[in-house]
């Protein structure tokens, strides 16, 4: 006989939906059996001898046990009357059934006041419900009695429970009393965010089965309108294997802020800003067989070279071109030389100005899912020019998150000012740095428009809206497909929205990432949630 058979049988019983009821019955049977056994044993033969000490001993021990039982009842059965105790539990205990969970955490709203998370009273207590399920899984996060808090749920916890101003112990005590005096469940105040439900939903739809991220930002305020990371999980149905890392492709990871990817050509926007800021206005030759800093390093070539070679043709190069044309054509040869020319210091200054060198949180007090990771910026030195050349085409050891690319784009559209992105509309606006001066930013803005008009970004041209942008196709090493990027802003004349789309191993930026951005903008215009 299989020795595991009884075990499997037990396992089946335990995982049956009816088990909790059986367990409850067993619990009572257990207590009853316990009591019965004690009565049996106590009913046995009476004492075998007595001395004068007996009554005193019995009184002493009996009194102690009685005091213990009373004192225990004071906490265990009547703990609710002790407001300080209640306050302690509210603050530090996550058990589902304690009075703290009698507060219905307030609703989390999008910028139009639509509920993205709300509390529902069930027979088991208060439960958090996410009407849009996985669409906001990373940014809103979850509030779960076992798995804890993440995202805005974690950062906005105090506000949602109505405890924003409860700084002192006394305030906690009075809240405890207030809660228990009230019948039913109190509801905390709602919390407004900068997110836009329609945009988030559409972005998530468009990203579909791709792995990747979409970020849309309001340029002048830094407010994040949409932040999607795929793959997603459903905050309404959290399960152990998700947290044990047994799901493929790390669905808990918020790729928009914590993903680290080579940006590829999308990073040329920052290089161009650094070049303009350091006064570059000339032209550079782009020889067809590429550029390298020494014979030991492989040559950096343009995309056109490889395309021509595949067709059995010979590419003649772009010739001598300026910055605008190089950006439009996304010339690696040009930018590798440009980076080496302007030097490590200017490049590093630009990355610092873009706020990439340090991490920050999108919501004060939130957990790691809203923490923007500092970019991995290699230690550039002028005596190692090949590193600089690679850095200048967004390759090498450089790793950034989609949000950081979006921030660079937004700065170009915002007179060079880098605004700290935020999800909390009540958080004051903060300037992280200045990428370049206003004139340089204006020049670059029109260069990015040219990318869409005549360069690699032509696919996003639309009649209703003037869009500027930059594609990116970042090699990941080995035989894996490239990461596809597209970042841009619109409308060009009075920029309002900056966006960045990144598709992991999506191939060409212009064929995978760009259509997502285009369809997102188009839907916005058609459905009316984008009004230029």
């Amino acid at each position: 006989m299989n020795p595991n058979l009884p075990l499997e049988f037990l396992q089946q019983i335990f995982t049956d939906p009816a088990w909790p009821h059986v367990a409850l019955l067993l619990r009572w049977l257990f207590l009853a059996g316990f009591a019965w056994l004690l009565m049996q044993l106590n009913g046995g033969r009476r004492g075998v001898g007595r001395s004068w000490l007996s009554p005193m001993w019995r009184m002493g021990v009996g009194l102690c046990f009685l005091l213990i039982a009373l004192r225990q009842a004071h906490w265990q059965l009547m703990g609710r009357r002790n407001t300080e105790f209640v306050a302690f539990m509210q603050r530090y205990d996550r058990r589902e059934f304690n009075p703290a969970h009698r507060v219905r955490a307030g609703r989390i709203l999008d910028r139009e006041g639509r509920s993205l998370a709300l509390s529902r009273v069930t027979p088991q207590g208060v439960r958090r419900v996410y009407p849009y399920g996985p669409i906001f899984s990373h940014v809103i996060g979850y509030n779960h009695p076992i798995y804890g808090l993440s995202g805005i749920e974690s950062g906005g916890r105090r506000h949602l429970l109505g405890q924003q101003r409860l700084q002192s112990r006394e305030a906690w005590v009075s809240l405890g009393a207030e809660l228990l005096d009230r019948e039913g469940y109190a509801e905390g105040p709602p919390l407004r965010t900068t997110l836009d439900l329609a945009m988030q939903r559409r972005a998530s739809e468009l990203l579909g089965d791709h792995r990747g991220a979409v970020v849309v930002m309001d340029i002048s305020s830094g407010e994040i309108l949409a932040m999607v990371s795929h793959p997603v999980f459903d905050p309404n149905r959290l399960v152990d294997p998700l947290f044990a890392g047994r799901f493929p492709h790390a669905p808990l990871l918020n790729r928009a802020v914590a993903g680290q990817y080579p940006p590829g050509s999308a990073f040329k926007v920052l290089i161009a800003a650094a070049a303009l800021q350091s006064g570059f206005a000339g032209t550079l030759d782009t020889p067809p067989d590429g550029f390298t800093t020494s014979a030991a390093n492989p040559r950096i070539r343009d995309h056109n070279y490889y395309v021509a070679r595949e067709r059995g043709q010979v590419w003649r190069g772009h010739g001598r071109i300026g910055l605008g044309e190089a950006l439009a054509k996304s010339s690696n040869v040009f930018f590798a030389q440009l980076g080496v020319d302007i030097g490590a210091e200017s490049l590093l200054r630009a990355t610092h100005a873009a706020g990439m060198h340090r991490g920050f949180s999108l919501w004060d007090g939130a957990d790691a899912t809203l923490r923007v990771k500092a970019a991995t910026v290699p230690d550039l030195r002028d005596n190692r020019p090949y590193d600089i050349a690679q850095f200048s085409i967004g390759q090498g050891r450089l790793l950034v998150s989609p949000l950081q690319v979006c921030m660079i784009t937004a700065a170009v559209a915002n007179l060079g000012l880098v605004v700290k992105p935020r999800l909390n509309p009540d958080q004051p606006m903060e300037i992280l740095g200045r990428l370049c001066g206003p004139e340089q930013a204006d020049t670059l803005k029109w260069m990015m428009y040219r990318v869409v008009q005549e360069g690699t970004g032509r696919g996003i041209q639309m009649r209703e809206l003037a869009v500027a942008g930059k594609t990116g196709t970042a090699q990941t090493g080995g035989d894996r497909p490239s990461h596809a990027w597209f970042t841009g802003f619109a409308p060009v004349s009075e920029p309002r929205w900056a966006f960045c789309v990144m598709v992991e191993e999506g191939g060409y930026g212009s064929s995978t990432a760009l259509p997502i951005a285009r369809d997102l903008l188009r839907s916005g215009l058609e459905e009316g949630w984008l009004r230029p």
Binding site: P3, N4, L7, L10, Q11, I13, F14, T15, A23, L24, L26, R27, W28, L29, F30, L31, F34, L37, L38, L41, N42, G44, R45, G47, V48, G49, R50, S51, W52, L53, S54, M56, W57, R58, V61, C64, F65, L67, I68, A69, R71, Q72, H74, W75, Q76, L77, G79, E84, F85, F88, M89, R91, Y92, D93, R94, R95, N98, R169, D240, P241
Partner: protein
């Protein structure tokens, strides 16, 4: 027991764990060792109080349940501890076999060596042990000072039976002068060493035992009154002069003053109890991982969360039953030495149970002592086993007054 175990396993399976054969081990070990213990008691001709072995078996079953429930979720509770209980039963049997038929009195000549050994153990521990969580432990986290719970009752009983007549009917205002000085000296040396190791819990236990033994030997309640005074005084001293003790004292008086620091332990324990309510969350339904030192000092809170207030009352009744049977055994002793040993052992058990639980429910400050047979910890478990074995042995009718009258 079976039902409890099914509940523990069921809760684990609900959390997504796959059952393994080894999960049945603690249950099987308990069954086998219990049957063996009963068998050996039968073969050896056990004629002591019939309820006492029953109480011990139930108590050990509750302990096995609570510990196997904490396995994996509470630090320090590992699979190895499954052996603790069967080995403990072996100790019960050994101690019973040794002490039955009045043979406890053979220990009498060794009372002074036992005292010297106690002092030696404490002194060695003081010099060689390592500091951990405000106490001193021997290498490997063992607590050899636990053996004092056997040695000290023996040496104390020997001391009193040395000159029984001198103590009889002497209240505390009229004690035998020489004897009191000797007793005081010995006690000062032992407790002084323990205080230096900050093992205040053990000092408290031993002192409680001393006063009960004194009361029973002198047949005067005045010693208890004196002791209460001494306790109050030493409490004041500890409060003002021992930093470690003072911290615990303050957190006892007002745990809410520093809820995340000194009061944290106690309050988490109480929170667990509150979560349990009247009927508990069911075995496996609580969250002992939220409790600091859940395995030893706060095991009662874990039990209380899962078994509820009713379960706690039952456990208290069980303890009361053990103590009552023990007290009967002690009362029935005719020979002064074994009588004093029995009183000492029962007093120690009672003190340990009361002080531990009273600490959890904030009736007393936390003293860091374990709950007999429920807590995690090998040395404590085995010492309790020996104490139970001694009681079983001394309950043997051949040593009892009543049986001789027949």
């Amino acid at each position: 027991m079976v039902m409890g175990f099914v509940l523990v396993l069921g809760a684990r399976a609900r959390q997504g764990q796959i059952l393994r054969l080894i999960d049945l081990l603690p249950f099987a070990l308990w069954m086998v060792s219990s049957l063996l213990l009963i068998l050996f008691l039968r073969i050896g001709g056990y004629k002591g109080p019939p309820a006492l072995p029953g109480f011990i078996l139930i108590l050990s079953a509750v302990g096995v349940l609570v510990r196997s429930r904490m396995e994996g979720s509470v630090e320090g509770v590992t699979g190895w501890s499954h052996l603790m209980q069967p080995l403990g039963f072996l100790w019960v049997w050994v101690a019973w076999w040794f002490s039955r038929r009045g043979r406890v009195k053979w220990l009498r000549p060794f009372w002074f060596p036992a005292f010297l050994l106690s002092v030696g153990v404490v002194a060695a521990l003081y010099m060689l042990g390592s500091q951990f969580r405000g106490g001193i432990y021997a290498p490997g986290g063992m607590t050899p000072s636990e053996v004092l719970k056997i040695l000290v009752p023996i040496s104390l009983a020997g001391f009193f039976s040395w000159r029984t007549a001198a103590w009889k009917n002497r209240p505390c205002w009229n004690p035998p002068p020489g004897e009191v000085m000797l007793l005081g000296l010995g006690w000062a040396v032992l407790c002084g060493l323990l205080v230096m190791q900050r093992d205040l819990g053990l000092v408290l236990l031993l002192s409680l035992m001393l006063v009960v033994v004194l009361g029973s030997v002198t047949r005067s309640g005045s010693w208890v009154v004196l002791f209460a005074g001494v306790m109050a005084g030493s409490g004041w001293l500890i409060l003002n002069h021992v930093a470690h003790g003072a911290r615990r004292f303050h957190s006892w008086l007002d745990p809410f003053a520093d809820p995340t620091g000194a009061g944290w332990q106690v309050l988490q324990g109480l929170t667990g109890l509150y979560a349990g309510g009247l009927t508990g969350t069911g075995l496996g339904g609580g969250q002992p991982d939220r409790l600091p030192i859940a395995g030893s000092d706060f095991v009662y809170a874990v039990y209380g969360e899962e078994m509820g207030y009713l379960g706690c009352v039952l456990l208290l009744a069980l303890f009361a039953g053990v103590l009552r049977e023990g007290a009967r055994v002690a009362n029935a002793q005719e020979e002064p030495f074994s009588g004093a040993v029995a009183v000492g052992v029962v007093a120690l058990l009672a003190a340990q149970i009361i002080v531990n639980i009273a600490g959890v429910v904030t009736l007393l400050p936390i003293t860091g002592i374990t709950l007999p047979y429920i807590s995690q910890g090998g040395s404590s478990y085995w010492v309790t086993s020996i104490q139970f074995g001694l009681l079983l042995g001394m309950g043997d009718p051949s040593t009892l007054r009543k049986s001789r009258k027949r």
